[in-house]
Symmetry: C2
Subunit: 309 residues, 2 copies
């Protein structure tokens, strides 16, 4: 549904000079005053959809709510400056809950050096919902967008993927520092944060860049959590399925020209691994590279079930 709405909004929302980048990226770029621009993003998480409050420390929930917005800023290589927080709290115990949520957010603000500017607090007879708007600077090299990729760009990802449901979806560290470091040091073409799953999010970068993409499945960095889900659950999904299809890894996916990719892979400048998993190509669609060098098209929906290596 969200993609239908985005298509409609792109058609219907009036263009405005202050919107340097609007609907459809990880965040918007908005001009403030005469010449300065900022990056703005909002992210909603709610009880029973993104976490289960009855069995989760509210501090972890607060962390997740803020970190998800910071991850969007990271995808744009934007330095966080401020966050505003809207809380819709169940009436019973709302004040105590609100404090615990903020206690989960404060360490992130301290770690990444920005201010929480407060926000709006709303009590109602419905589940907890948190909407965090994060605002960041545009750094010297400008915002990193989804649509900047070109055929031949190498696809790199940070960290390992899959199985975030075992805990990382709550406790992940947004790749703010990693994005700023890479954007400053290397020539990056495009980026996205992996929130909906590798296959879907890679397809977004490819689409927005007017390209297709081919993945080498054997190269996808699989997390221990993905492996452990695959061995424990016996549901027919392999660890690779989890790495390709699971949401909420909150790692970065980057499209990088070959010379920069070689340098990045040689340098390994982050505390987490950088892995090459494929490349952008001129031919539209998502493709799997077969061992014989041929490509096989991958459907986007149900990707993880249909395309085992």
């Amino acid at each position: 549904m969200e993609s239908d709405l985005i298509a409609w909004l792109r058609e219907r929302l009036p263009p405005h000079e202050s919107l340097r980048l609007g609907i459809g990226d990880d965040a918007a770029v908005v001009q403030i005053g005469a010449g300065t621009a900022c990056v703005v993003t909002v992210d909603v998480v709610s009880d029973q959809v993104d976490f289960h409050l009855d069995r989760t420390d509210p501090r972890r929930v607060g962390h997740k709510a803020l970190a998800a917005s910071l991850s969007d800023l990271a995808a744009m290589a934007s330095r966080p400056r401020s966050a505003v927080v809207a809380l819709a709290l169940p009436r019973r115990g709302g004040l105590e809950l609100a404090k615990q949520l903020y206690e989960g957010m404060i360490p992130l603000a301290e770690r990444y050096g920005f201010g929480i500017a407060g926000g709006d607090t709303h009590s109602w007879d419905a589940p907890l919902l948190i909407s965090v708007t994060a605002i960041g600077d545009v750094t010297g090299r400008g915002p990193l967008v989804r649509g900047g990729g070109q055929p031949g760009d190498q696809i790199l990802v940070t960290g390992t993927l899959g199985g975030s449901i075992l805990g990382k979806h709550l406790d992940f560290e947004p790749r703010v520092r990693e994005a700023l470091l890479l954007h400053e040091r290397y020539d990056l073409h495009a980026a996205i944060d992996l929130s909906d799953g590798l296959a879907i999010d890679l397809a977004r970068v490819a689409d927005e860049s007017g390209c297709g993409a081919v993945i080498q499945l054997a190269s996808v960095p699989i997390s221990e959590a993905a492996a452990s889900l695959a061995s424990a659950k016996q549901n027919g999904r392999s660890a690779l399925d989890h790495a390709l299809g699971d949401g909420e890894d909150f790692e970065l996916l980057l499209a990088v020209p070959p010379h920069a990719a070689r340098q990045m892979l040689a340098d390994q400048p982050l505390e987490v691994p950088l892995t090459r998993i494929g490349e952008l190509i001129g031919q539209p669609g998502l493709w799997q590279m077969l061992p014989d060098g041929q490509r096989r098209e991958l459907g986007r929906a149900g990707f993880e079930h249909t395309f085992l290596p």
Copy 2:
């Protein structure tokens, strides 16, 4: 509850150089880049709390959600630049509902010349909730805050007050243009938008300014809706009760030095009336001016019931 949380947040949130004005005003002032600042505010409205979706055109709901945030910008005399919209939609009919909500917002963006930068859309098994973050410029004279008032400042309000439940709470026009015009043309000390009721919101300006306030009840501009509620409902609340106590007027309340107030009242530069209703005083508390020139203290809670003239 919200005031308890604000007190706690003021204590606990780490200060940050980028936050020129944080918790507790109508909006925050955030520094972006090297020198530019912007005004940021978020406002949440939800079904059954702020409107009844089963008997309200979603376009009016969309209008209200965005206009409430614009009203916060107006209270800071900030020019809107952008809005980001977070929607939590009931699963059934969510896409159509989202379009109608945006259709209610788009005319405001066109009228006030800013961009809607999209946002996040969330589906869930709970009532509709809308969180709008609005971002505005700081105009040449800087942001107008709640705490800038001084003893002797005259209290002026725009428009007429009370009874917004009859329709204005959905269809109000945020006082964006009025605030910008007044802030540019006159020497204003403090402002707030009347969202929770005249008595409560005036007390906030007085408190933040380290003052008290005295009201001449006979001067309070009473709306036709307030009069009609008083005559129809027979619930013991007078039209003045409604004007003092009803929320969601979304008019401006201003604290203005006497010379500027005289000029503003003589000029009447707005399409809506500007009315003097009292003044800030050194003595803390909210006071009623009696016909004999004495003051009687007004409690803040239950104000509208206790203090009929």
